[in-house]
């Protein structure tokens, strides 16, 4: 049944073709996803950014499992504020800990926050956007009211107040960020659902007796999934930045956890001394990750944009 509807829609509308679900069409290799992948491969900046992100992830996994920089959190008071050397490329901090090691462990914090928070916000945004757009009426009015309310409070005020309620720590930061950053996704998905729900392929599915759940998740959702991908990437970047800002303000992760925000907070006082290791390491690592994520997102969006198909 699903393949029937897909075949129909691929004739009607190439954008709407959810061919990823139909292995029989794989050899043809002209699906939306395959097109997107080909377009993405041509974008050199996008590919480089992708590999940079992958290496960040690998480093994070190695650090989290203790294979590299296992002693990043162990203080060594005798070596406090030592300057640059081969052993400590960015020097050491107030407690004599290697700043490079702390920055590397900061990747673990950043990536886990980014991953968990943007997953949470994506799930909330997709579900709320989908049911609002699909059902319309009172459900829609409620969801629109909800996200307008959430969106009317500046996030820089909303997230700190949530962390005040939930307390500090990695889990609470990701819940706070996730609960507040789903609005854009919900709005986009709601609009797409409005557009798609009266399209022929949905009507066809309806005609052969598909239920609401099946139409939402089986038919329409695969056709708006490219939006979700892009939103996920954007959410990832903003979650990392929010974590850094919150930790800098003293509202973020537990202080015994390495975080770029805490390192910049340390640096705030140290610059007058002057020790710049913390600031340099945190910003270089953050810059690399966020820049490559933004470039990767741009490339991904271009690749997934059907209007770019024939370029």
């Amino acid at each position: 049944m699903s393949s029937a509807s897909s075949n129909m829609t691929s004739n009607l509308n190439a954008v709407a073709a959810a061919t990823a679900k139909t292995p029989s069409q794989a050899p043809v290799r002209n699906s939306l996803w395959w097109d997107a992948f080909r377009r993405f491969k041509k974008n050199k900046i996008g590919v480089v950014s992708f590999w940079v992100i992958i290496s960040y992830v690998i480093i994070a996994i190695l650090a989290a499992t203790g294979l590299i920089f296992p002693d990043a959190q162990v203080p060594n008071q005798a070596e406090a504020y030592s300057s640059i050397s081969w052993a400590h490329p960015f020097g050491t901090d107030i407690f004599g800990r290697d700043i490079l090691g702390r920055a590397v462990h900061g990747i673990v914090t950043a990536i886990s926050i980014g991953l968990l928070a943007s997953t949470l916000s994506l799930v909330i945004g997709l579900v709320l956007g989908a049911i609002a757009g699909y059902f319309g009426g009172k459900v829609d009015a409620f969801v629109v009211w909800l996200y307008t309310t959430v969106d009317s409070i500046p996030y820089i005020l909303l997230i700190p107040s949530l962390t005040f309620v939930l307390g500090r720590g990695l889990i609470n930061v990701f819940i706070a960020v996730g609960l507040t950053s789903w609005v854009t996704t919900a709005r986009l998905v709601r609009g797409e659902f409005f557009k798609h729900k009266s399209r022929e392929y949905v009507m066809a599915a309806h005609a052969i007796g598909a239920g609401d759940g099946r139409k939402i998740f089986g038919h329409i959702l695969p056709n708006v999934a490219h939006l979700a991908f892009v939103q996920f990437g954007l959410g990832f970047v903003s979650a990392i930045k929010i974590e850094v800002i919150l930790s800098y303000l003293g509202l973020g992760v537990d202080p015994s956890q390495p975080s770029w925000g805490l390192m910049i907070d340390d640096a705030k006082n140290e610059l007058a001394r002057p020790y710049w290791g913390n600031l340099a390491a945190a910003t270089v690592f953050m810059f690399g990750l966020i820049l490559s994520f933004n470039l990767f997102n741009d490339a991904l969006r271009e690749a997934l944009d059907p209007k770019m198909k024939n370029k």
Binding site: A80, E192, F194, L234, K241, P255, A272, N294
Partner: protein, 617 residues
Amino acid sequence: MSRNNSTVQNATVDSKFRPRSQSATFLQVLLAGAVAVALAVTGCTKKRFDENDNSLNLVLRANVKGLDPASANDLYSSTVINQMYEGLLAYNYLKRPFTLQPALAEAMPEISKDGLTYTFKIKKGVKFHDNAAFPDGKGREVTAQDFVYSWKRLADPRNTSEGFWIFDGKIKGLNEWATAVKNEKANYDTPVEGLQTPDSHTLVVKLTGVYHQLAYVLAMPFASVVAREAVDKYGKEFLNNPVGTGPFVLEKPSDWVRNSKITLKKNPTYRPDTYPSEGMPGDAEKGLLADAGKQLPLVDKLVFSEIVEDQPRWQNGLKGNFDWVEIPKDNFDNAVSKEDRSKIVPDLAAKGLSLDITPALDVTYIGFNMVDPVLGKNKLLRQAMSKAFDSKTYIEKFLNGRGIAAQGPVPPGIDSYDEAFKNPNVAFSLEEAKALLAKAGFPEGKGLPEFQYEGLADSTARQGAEFFVQAMASIGVKVKINSNTWPQFQEKIKAQKAQIFGIAWGADYPDAQNFLQLFYSKNKTPGPNDTSFNSPEFDKAYEASLKLPPGAERTKLYQKMRDIVADETPWIFNAHRLGYKLVHGWVGNFKWTEVANDYPKYIRIDAKKRAELGNKL
């Protein structure tokens, strides 16, 4: 359908621009910060110093809340209040240890044999500042009745004064008067048994019990005399319209620009008050007696700037816009020689600056909640944690060595402090700490829950908390940090919910009692005993000490109390801080005092020297 499409388009545009605008905001904040700092640094070079302007320019590190003595409960407000208001007694400017002398009183009080009646003779001819509150605008003479009125203001529940604790339950009939006022059964004309005025210049204070600290609290700004006419005229605005008897006067309310600057002028009708002619040995050599016998104040104008941020305060201070400035922790190496921590760096010395080091009369500590089921019942565990905390390294790291490792609650400079006393539980030793922990039944921390440390959220407090956690981890005790705002932090302590917390106490007056009361069981939190320490032996000694006048017997009791808390370890004693200030070459008669805030009237400014040195800065 078209409406829906437009929604989608808007949303798409939004999603494209959103991340960029966010990163722009972050950059803008950084840029704005850089510009602000640059302006603060360059802006002050425009200032030129006038050869005839001997004004004293001081800086406060927090904003002034108001200028009513009844609410002078923070250092910054009370510093300004002290220039315009006076009480019966004040501290001698030069003598150490701190010695009280009469201010508005003619002489020190006559105290009855039972210690319950104090008789003050009040100076004749002391006038309130000229103010529109008085008929024809001329300040009238101060009488004993004015003190009765001013002290009743502290007790008046409608004023919710933070200063009533100085008289609470101490003066006969005052608490009863306050209750009657609350029930609208009394007013300011209702007499109070313990505050009598046999004639216009005699004040008799009757106490409910012996209160040796009375003389000290009378020197606090809370007990200053205020003009009833001004309170009646200005009502709530009295906070902004100070009318007292002090050496300086706020000529008009607009001379105080909120959160920025307070400009005070010399009081033309100030009482005869002269610079002391006797000091401590060495004071004469430092030139501190050159102005002996001269009428105060020695400057015509006094300006307090309010600057909260460290760096602008420091930069303005270096430029000579303030006559002295405290050295922030992170600028320490730029100001103080690395080889000798008691010497200023040569290039600042060449500009005529000098370094002043004065103990701050305070103690910083890490408190244990004594009602906590694990910490409160286990003295050996507390001792082990205390021994694992290296206060010397802490002082080196966080105070640039500007502190003395505290052995007990009482700081140096206060009676009963004994330099020779070494608290065995303060001496850092990981081996002994581990042994004590094993003896307590928790070898290597096994069997202990994870403790919660409560601290503040600012960077330095957070680093201090991390230091504590690392110290505890070195003997296997696990601690989690909770960062709080100041009100949250206070609330947790007051509700006995804080398990371990880092905090400090500064002296209200130079008597060890002010520190030892922090362990008295009847003061337990929400009172000042924030660990809820309870020891009948300590209480007995404390109660006995209250009845004793200053002297060897009382000192002995104070030291006994210190030994009890040193052994019980309700606190990890951390540091007595030292204040480091840079003083410009044109400032004369500078002798820093931690308990008294009336110093500006003693300071001399050499305007000619300032014009010469200052314009080179």
